[in-house]
Every structure is written in structure tokens, then in C-alpha cells.
Symmetry: C2
Subunit: 212 residues, 2 copies
DNA sequence: CGCCTGTTGCACAGCACTGTGCAAATAGGG
DNA sequence: CCCTATTTGCACAGTGCTGTGCAACAGGCG
């Protein structure tokens, strides 16, 4: 069918190191390139890998197969780290902490992948225009830190990012039917306060009070 | 230039209700449609709005202008809500709680927008394959709830979503230089534990202990 | 009724990308 | 050095989308 040897299937005879190296390099470069632009064309990827487009098709039948391989690699590594982090640990809190630490090692490698995967044109525009809001939120956080109301190892701007993403997480949760939409607002408020270091009981009480 | 009247510019004489209604409907439908697929074509949007592609171009010069209008509307509404929520409130914790609650009202309307904006093909694949990991994490959370180690208004599965997104937030923060990459892992662990209701001091101590 | 705004339907040029075929180069191992 | 797996370069068909031009048409307003 294809004009090139299968490449990834049976390699009966001796040498094939160059091909393997190319395949590897294509994958690595593709990761970096798809980061920068999730819609990067096969040509962009090939050129970045110092190879001709046709060669990429020699290793992966189509775009989807390439990306799929990429995602598989990342997820596999991440799963392993997560599992290793919590194996044999009794205390749930410690298990969570360990697996987060373990995952982060790799997450750091795939950081750009995930972070930029959600950098859709749409998302980009939203986040950009939302900057003023984020800054206002940061200011409130800063004030809270000053008064000792909040406590976190994160600087206020980073905590603002966290808050923003927590809202996103809650939206997903509601979309997936995990949380009742009417409850979600209060849950979000409590969880966000808690993440900022406000004792869970205080946060719950405060939010409950506001709902009169 | 265009074969159609400007449509959105000066409307000197009397009637224009139908055009306005169309414009409105196109925007509304576009919101819904771009949710389902951020790469929805102008034709898809037009058809969904019960209108011909050419008509859409009568209201918006190009795709970007349409999306831009959409995002502007959403962001403007959100900003207003956020500001209104915290105006005149002294206590930072209350300010945060109020603005979150206020934002949620609208977020609920744009929930799909934001949630699905990050539903890139890439993201989709990642989240899908990450499901097993998320489930394992949920299990640990559930155990923690049982032992009273964790506390949250959110059910374990939703909390798992939150944890996942918090990692994403931290990755973004690192990418943007807000947090040192070497610190980020520990910060992530502490923040995630804290969000799960573990007292900030305990979380910090636990994570510090793990770093020996 | 006739006008004017907005809508429709169709057609077209242009563009970018995908996946494939083929023949000619190339390079590393044996 | 020769052989073979691999890569290259080019060409091509197919697809789908964008933005625009134009002519016909609809319906409310005066």
C-alpha cells in the first residue's frame, strides 16, 4: 500500500537503529511542536524533526496515530508514577502527597503538553481578557495573606491560577453529573477558601451564612 | 465590498428587529455550537442557527470577529459579577466567597463554553486515558473520608477532578514563572491536601517530612 | 403599493492540509 | 564494497473551509 516499508512492523534483519532513532526524534519533536500549536500540521512537525513529511508517514500511518502514540506514552508514564507513589502507604493523606510528588516529576516533563493542550485559540482569548479579573482576585488574596486569614505555600498570583482552575474543575464535575448544579456554587466557594488555608469548618460556616 | 449591507453598522431608518434577532440568535447558537466543537465551521454554526452561511458573514466580517464578540460578552458579564460580589466587603475571606458565588451564577451559563473550550482533541484523549488514574485517586480520597482525614463538601470523584485541575493550574503557574519548578511539586502536594480539608499546618508538616 | 433592509442560493477562487505513489538518492551493516 | 532498509523529493487527487460577488427574493414600513 504505502510507498515506504512498514517501518514499525516486523524488522527481520540486522540494522534499524537509524529508523528507530528517527521515530523517537519525530515523537519527541512532535510533542514539543503540538505543544506550541495543537493544530500543528504534519509538515511543521516533520520539518521541526529535520525530516521530510513523507518520512513521518513512513512511521505513522496518519496524524491520529502519531498523537495517539504520544498520549499513550505520557499517560503510561504518569499512571506508573502515580501508582508507585502510593503503593504500600496506609495513611491516605500521605498516599495523596506521595503520588502528587511522584506525578510532578513527570508532569514537569509533560507540563508544556498539558498546559498548552488547553491553550486553544478560544481558551487563549478567554484567559487573556480575564487577566483583569484575575488581578483583582490576586489583590484580595494578597490582602488576606497580610491579615493572616489565608495561608499557602503559593504566592497570591499562583493561588489565583489555582482558584480559576478549580472553578473549571467544578464546571466539568457538574457537566459530568458528579455535583448538583445548585450546590456547586457553594461547594466551589468552600473548596476555594479551604485551598487558601481557611479551616474547613470556618469556610463552611462562612459560606452557609452568606446563603441567607 | 461585501455583497450584503453592513448590518451591524449605522442603521438609520426604522425597522431592524428581525436582523437584530438574527444576530442575537447566531451568537447564542454559535456559543452552543463552538462548545460542542471549538473548530465548528461557519457553515455548521449558520445551519444550527437556521440561517445560511452567507448571512452570518453579513453580521460578522469573519470567524474571528464572531468568536471575539462571544468571548467579550462572556468576560464582561463575568467581570461585572466578580466585582459586584466583592464590592464593599472588608473581610477577604468573605470577599472571595461572595465573588465565587456571584461568578458561579454566570459560570453556570458559560459552563459549557469554558469546559468544552479545553476539550481539545488532545485533551479529550488525555482525560479519557487518565480515567484509571483518576479512579485510583478517587479511591484514596474515599478512604481518607472514611477515616475522617479529609473533609470537603464535594464527593470524592469531584474532588479528584479538582485535584487534577490544580495540577494543571500549577503547571501553568510554573510556565508563567510564578512558581519555581523545584518548589512546585511540594506546593502542589500541600495545596491539594489543604483543599481536601487537611489543616494547612498538618499538610505542610507531612510534605516536609516526605522530603528527607 | 413600492422601497429598503436583510436574507437566500449559488458560484467561484484561493488556500492549506492530508494521504498516497513512485523513482531516485543515501547510508550503515555485514 | 555491496545490499537493503530507509529516506528523500516531487507530484497528485481529494477534501473542506474561508471570504466574496451577484442576482433574486421576502416582508414590514411609510
Amino acid at each position: 500500500m504505502a510507498g515506504m516499508p512498514t517501518g514499525h512492523s516486523g524488522r527481520a534483519p540486522g540494522h534499524s537503529s537509524r529508523a528507530d532513532a528517527n521515530r523517537r526524534r519525530i515523537l519527541d519533536v512532535a510533542l514539543a511542536e503540538l505543544l506550541r500549536d495543537p493544530d500543528a500540521s504534519m509538515d511543521q512537525i516533520a520539518r521541526a524533526a529535520g525530516v521530510v513529511r513523507r518520512t513521518v508517514y513512513g512511521h505513522f500511518p496518519n496524524r491520529e496515530a502519531l498523537i495517539s502514540t504520544l498520549v499513550d506514552e505520557a499517560v503510561q508514564a504518569l499512571s506508573a508514577a502515580h501508582a508507585a507513589g502510593r503503593e504500600g502507604v496506609q495513611d491516605p493523606a500521605e498516599a495523596v502527597a506521595r503520588s502528587v510528588l511522584a506525578v510532578w516529576e513527570l508532569a514537569d516533563r509533560y507540563r508544556l503538553l498539558i498546559a498548552l493542550a488547553q491553550r486553544t485559540v478560544t481558551m487563549q482569548g478567554i484567559r487573556e481578557r480575564l487577566a483583569p479579573v484575575r488581578e483583582a482576585a490576586t489583590e484580595v488574596l494578597r490582602r488576606g495573606f497580610g491579615q493572616g486569614v489565608f495561608s499557602s505555600p503559593l504566592p497570591p498570583p499562583a493561588l489565583a491560577y489555582v482558584h480559576e482552575q478549580m472553578l473549571v474543575a467544578l464546571m466539568e464535575a457538574v457537566n459530568d453529573g458528579l455535583v448538583d448544579a445548585r450546590e456547586a456554587g457553594r461547594c466551589a466557594a468552600v473548596t476555594i477558601l479551604t485551598a487558601a488555608g481557611v479551616p474547613a469548618s470556618d469556610a463552611t460556616a462562612l459560606v452557609a451564612k452568606l446563603n441567607d
